[in-house]
């Protein structure tokens, strides 16, 4: 067990290094001459050279990459071109809010869709079939920004439970901030809960048709105990992989909801920084998003390996 955990973490590190390098290279190529563009075309070249030196842009590429990388892991994400401030100071608290929003959404997805999947398998057939499918389709089709507008109107303007444009300070009013985030999480999670529930249900249905279920019944299990003792565990790996993907997507999906509900997360700042060509900021956010995706995948794999012994070998067994 320990061996493949280490192996998987090794893979994680290598992937992250690769991602960070590619991102760094890409921004090297697209950013052109930042010192020149910061100072404008009319600036004298000695000023440009001085700024270049100040920003460390006169050093060789690999040295800069190495410095950036070591800086990244010690919390130094570089200096913003637009604000002339450390990137971390600009995005730290925003990142915190976005991650909180993602985690709350993800928790909602896990807590609701797994029991819902089982419920819809057990009772979603027969006469309820069309109710279940149409409700499911409906939920899947609701875009988070629309739910966001709806919730702002109903709970923000009619009932005044929260104020959509005005996000409370996370440390001064944690309760109110949490409530605000919670509304955002509802918007994000509804379509994903619908997808995960449907996925869970169809996985259970296909597992139920497998030969081991017939064996279990021939030993005296009823459908319920087959579900509980055999099928659920066998369905879990697919669901975990699916949830891993959901977790990966959700951080990027927060951007729109943050705009609609006025949540001061990374999303709005990212859009702004892209418009201002503030590459150090964009680069840092891109790498953070990529790390999040890789991390989600790794976690899903590790959980699956602990569920399914066949995955512990080398991962190449079906």
């Amino acid at each position: 067990m320990m061996k493949y955990v280490l192996k998987r973490i090794g893979m994680l590190v290598v992937t992250m290094l690769l991602v960070s390098f590619l991102t760094f290279l890409a921004f090297e190529l697209i950013s052109g001459d930042p010192a020149r563009s910061m100072l404008g075309t009319n600036a004298p070249s000695y000023q440009v050279d001085a700024l270049r030196h100040e920003l460390g842009l006169d050093q060789p590429f690999f040295l800069r990459y190495f410095k950036w990388l070591t800086g990244f892991f010690s919390g130094d994400l570089g200096i913003s071109y637009s604000y002339r401030q450390p990137v971390w100071d600009l995005i730290g608290s925003k990142l915190m809010i976005t991650i909180l929003l993602s985690l709350i959404s993800f928790a909602l997805i896990v807590i609701i869709s797994i029991p819902m999947g089982i419920f819809s398998y057990q009772w979603g057939g027969g006469p309820f079939e069309w109710i279940r499918t149409s409700f499911n389709q409906l939920c899947m089709a609701i875009p988070p920004f629309f739910t966001g507008i709806l919730l702002s109107y109903v709970f923000g303007i009619l009932f005044r439970v929260f104020s959509p444009g005005d996000f409370p300070d996370l440390y001064e009013e944690p309760g109110a901030a949490f409530l605000h985030l919670f509304f955002g999480a509802i918007c994000l999670s509804i379509p994903r809960i619908a997808m995960t529930t449907r996925m869970m249900r169809s996985t259970i249905v296909s597992e139920m048709n497998k030969a081991y279920v017939r064996t279990a019944i021939s030993r005296g299990n009823d459908r319920r105990s087959v579900l509980v003792t055999h099928v659920l565990k066998n369905s879990l790996t697919s669901v975990v992989s699916f949830l891993g993907q959901t977790m990966a997507e959700i951080l990027a999906a927060t951007i729109v909801v943050e705009q609609v509900l006025g949540i001061p997360g990374l999303g709005r700042f990212l859009v702004l920084s892209i418009a201002q060509r503030d590459y150090p900021v964009v680069q840092a956010i891109v790498v953070i998003l990529a790390f999040w995706v890789v991390l989600a995948g790794t976690l899903a794999d590790l959980i699956n390996q602990s569920i399914d012994p066949r995955l512990r070998l080398g991962g190449d067994l079906a």
Binding site: K210, A211, Y212, R214, T215, A216, I217, S218, R219, G220, N221, D222, S225, T229, H230, K233, N234, I307, D308, P309, R310, L317
Partner: protein
């Protein structure tokens, strides 16, 4: 004693009856062979006995009585008490018939968990004994293994152990050796013979291979297209097949093997 009287099974999505009027008797302690080509209705017959028919998707009639108790029309809840206590079933593909995520020992002991109040340790002791009686080497180690860690032959032995652990009076074997290679197949046949001799357990042994049946079963029934075409003592049928279909089945066995057997 198992008595089947005029069993008919027709799946709703098929035109032809899968089983079209089969009557059979298996005496206590007897092994009956059931042979026939693919699709002749052998498995459906066994599933009917085991109470594993998808009842909603088919129509069925006739009687199946195990020691006088009706199986074909029994309630699901009554069937569950028979599953794994009076009837054990072994299927063709041991690998896919086992839960890939449950340890072998637990699967072997599953019927005990369901039907008895034995605690974990007592169950384990019985499982180890059952594993020994099916000649699984190193049962303590096998107990904690997962199905994919066993060879096909070991998996099938474990499946047999699981089927006999509650000492059922009837064992249904649906092509238990077809997926195994020839040497393992021979070992499993020997094992079944031994179990039958020691425990006086009745067996229905399904195969499409008459030669395998001849090694194990004193009596044999031949099925074709849902009907029994011939039934009797295996040796007599081999020497003097009455039905052209049986003749063809016997002729299909290579001559060398046919002589070896006699």
């Amino acid at each position: 004693m198992l008595v089947i009287k005029d069993l008919h099974v027709k799946f709703d999505n098929r035109d032809r009856e899968a089983v079209a009027g089969v009557s059979l008797t298996i005496e206590d302690g007897e092994i009956l062979g059931l042979v026939g080509e693919s699709g002749s209705g052998k498995s459906v017959t066994a599933m009917s006995i085991a109470g594993l028919l998808p009842r909603k998707q088919c129509t069925y009639s006739g009687d199946i009585l195990l020691d006088g108790q009706d199986l074909l029309h029994a309630k699901r809840s009554d069937l569950r008490k028979i599953h794994g206590t009076k009837i054990g079933v072994v299927f063709q593909e041991p690998m896919s018939s086992m839960d890939p995520l449950m340890k072998v020992g637990e699967q072997v002991g599953e019927a005990l968990r369901i039907h008895t109040k034995l605690d974990r340790q007592a169950r384990k002791d019985k499982v180890i004994k059952a594993m020994e009686s099916v000649e699984l080497r190193d049962p303590e180690a096998v107990y904690d293994k997962y199905p994919h860690e066993l060879s096909g032959g070991m998996q099938q032995r474990a499946m047999i152990a699981a089927a006999i652990i509650t000492e059922p009076s009837l064992l249904l074997l649906d092509e238990p050796t077809t997926a195994l290679d020839v040497t393992i197949q021979a070992q499993i046949l020997e094992l079944l013979k031994k179990l039958n001799a020691e425990r006086k357990m009745s067996m229905l042994f399904i195969s499409h291979n008459l030669n395998v049946v001849r090694k194990l079963c004193r009596k044999v029934a031949v099925m074709q297209k849902g009907c029994l075409v011939e039934e009797g003592l295996t040796d007599e049928i081999f020497l003097n097949p009455q039905h052209p279909y049986t003749k063809r089945l016997i002729d299909a066995i290579p001559t060398r093997i046919r002589k070896e057997g006699s």
